[in-house]
């Protein structure tokens, strides 16, 4: 019995892209494919002002139907898990909203129900959040400025898997970094895996480069998910049993 799979890209970056297509455009496309894009902008711990490049962070997330948050490196862990969770709830709420409209007619959204009725709907959303399967592709900016933040990123990802693996549903994670090796836009750091425990061995190997091809990297990331096969409402049909394979 499978309730379908939520797909997310989690982009972790500290600045603006400077090569290739507009990341916000790719994020829009990803959302149309049923993939939510969340973005976390990482500040240097001492940094007091928000640098300009981080405006892009919000743009990408809004286009990708996800959340964005700008944080100091040291509070990354809790933010990563909050953003991921909020985005899950958001997506599932969207799914339930669609279902409600099907049953109750156009414009019936959770927020428009009387408070008494919302409780039951929210329970359904929570049940789904607990039991649905989840695929998270983490896309890490490893351009030179990110270098000393990578250990924190690693901690945060380990922590994320701790949070998500406490759920009943299954999880799969993969990690990509950009810019990639040998002039490529993106490199695979870790293939789809249910646990992120082994990441400590891969992170030190990351090399950093000067360019930041966020858009192209996002496109590559999007292609790591299986193409959209059915609409999101199938989350609610409990007896559907297709397990989606990721295309590598």
């Amino acid at each position: 019995m499978n309730k379908g799979t939520l797909k997310q890209i989690l982009l972790i970056t500290d600045g603006c892209s400077n090569k290739g297509e507009d990341p916000a455009a790719v994020a829009t496309l990803a959302l149309q494919q049923g993939i939510t894009v969340n973005v976390i902008g990482v500040l240097e711990n001492e940094q007091s002002e928000q640098p300009e490049g981080l405006e892009e962070v919000e743009e990408i997330a809004m286009s990708g139907g996800g959340y964005s948050q700008v944080v100091y490196a040291k509070s990354l862990s809790q933010t990563v898990q909050m953003v991921t969770r909020q985005a899950m709830t958001q997506t599932l709420q969207g799914v339930v909203n669609q279902e409600l409209q099907q049953i109750l007619g156009q414009d019936q959204k959770i927020e428009e129900l009387p408070p008494e009725k919302r409780g039951e709907v929210m329970e359904v959303v929570e049940d789904l959040g607990e039991t649905c399967d989840l695929e998270v592709l983490v896309l890490v900016d490893t351009s030179a400025s990110m270098h000393n933040k990578l250990p924190t990123v690693q901690d945060a990802l380990f922590d994320l898997s701790l949070s998500l693996n406490a759920r009943t549903g299954n999880n799969r994670f993969s990690i990509y970094s950009f810019p990639g090796k040998r002039g490529k836009d993106v490199s695979k750091v870790m293939d789809w895996t249910p646990q992120l425990e082994s990441i400590s061995s891969v992170f030190p190997k990351l090399t950093s480069g000067g360019i930041t091809p966020t858009g192209p990297a996002l496109r590559e990331a999007m292609n790591q998910f299986a193409p959209k096969k059915r609409n999101l409402r199938s989350f609610l049909s409990r007896d559907e049993s297709t397990m989606e394979e990721s295309g590598d």
Binding site: E58, A61, M62, G65, G66, Y67, S68, Q69, S77, Q78, M82, Q86, T89, Q90, Q93, I110, E111, P114, P115, E116, R118, G119, V121, M122, E123, V125, E126, E130, D159, L162, S163, L164, N165, A166, R167, T168
Partner: protein
């Protein structure tokens, strides 16, 4: 749109404004801001001549989730788990945007650490016993509190009663903890999962006790477990509870009842030792005398440093402490 929810931390209502619910039409006069956190802002308000606390959030789903929990609590008969729920509604602000809120019982009191600073350290164990009792009831009802932390604990006084607020993290046993705060989270310290289990709350409770003595908190460092144990050993005021705290941190208690028992025993021992040190002429109750026997046995195999600690406890402060404890016991009867 959705990103707004991240900016919603700053809900700012002018004092004196009137909030009227869209569905139930109850009106509230905003009196003052009580506090705000990750999920909303809480105001003190008047409804007629009743004082209530109202939590506002632009994130309607978190209001709904918390209301669900509070409703469940109300079904647990005869127990006061969390503030009681009074109203749930939406408010259409003057600028046209809508925010969700719920009104609850106003808990007039002090935050746990403020209370202990003002009233004395001997209160810690006593209040923790109250908390453990409530947690026991909660666990029995199939829930785990989740986001247990000092800021979410309020002591109403007198008589002293510890109450919890902010049920945003309250999770059904067996699921993934909904909301947590790193310092109180066993996952962060590498000492367990984020599955909702009674042991999860007991870990957080142990951290609450530690936090009272480290108000600034501390980071986990390279070896989180060592850091934690070192801080525990260094807090001399926590010595009487160190064993219980350690057991809770390692998930050794199977129920809050067990921890409650340990802390209660400790409280009784400490007060009796102090009585004896003072060679007090007060008449002891039979149970106290029994406890005293236990204490003597315990003290025989206690380390020299522990003995020293006990003697240090003698003096005028002790007499004051004793009267406090007697006072509390009298309050309870």
């Amino acid at each position: 749109m959705m990103n707004q929810q991240w900016k919603s931390q700053g809900i700012n209502l002018p004092i004196g404004s009137v909030v009227t619910g869209k569905w139930h039409n109850h009106s509230y006069l905003i009196r003052k801001k009580l506090g705000s956190g990750a999920c909303g802002t809480v105001y003190l308000a008047d409804q007629g001549n009743q004082q209530v606390a109202i939590k506002f959030s632009q994130n309607g789903s978190s209001i709904t989730t918390e209301v669900n929990v509070l409703r469940t609590f109300q079904k647990v008969q005869g127990k006061r788990l969390g503030p009681s729920l009074l109203d749930v509604d939406d408010w259409v602000q003057p600028n046209g945007s809508q925010i969700s809120f719920y009104a609850m019982e106003y808990l007039k009191g002090k935050e746990l650490s403020t209370f202990i600073q003002k009233h004395g350290h001997e209160w810690l164990g006593i209040l923790m016993v109250q908390l453990l009792k409530d947690l026991g009831d909660l666990h029995e009802a199939g829930w785990v509190f989740g986001d247990l932390k000092t800021e979410n604990l309020i002591v109403t006084f007198p008589p002293a009663r510890l109450r919890w607020i902010d049920v945003g993290g309250t999770t059904q046993i067996g699921r993934a903890i909904k909301e947590y705060t790193e310092f109180y989270d066993r996952g962060y310290w590498g000492l367990g999962s984020r599955k909702a289990e009674p042991t999860y709350d007991l870990f957080a409770l142990a951290m609450v006790m530690i936090h009272v003595y480290y108000p600034k908190r501390f980071e986990k460092g390279k070896d989180p477990e060592k850091t934690l144990m070192r801080h525990l050993q260094q807090a001399s005021s926590l010595k009487p509870y160190a064993t219980a705290i350690q057991k809770a941190l390692y998930g050794k208690y199977r129920s809050s009842k067990e921890m409650e028992q340990d802390i209660t025993n400790q409280l009784m021992n400490v007060s009796n030792n102090r009585l004896k040190d003072q060679q007090s002429s007060r008449t002891h109750s039979r149970t106290q005398r029994k406890q005293q026997k236990k204490t003597v046995q315990k003290r025989n195999n206690s380390s020299p440093s522990q003995a020293k600690y006990l003697w240090e406890g003698a003096g005028i402060i002790v007499v004051v402490c004793m009267f406090y404890i007697v006072y509390v016991i009298l309050q309870w009867i």
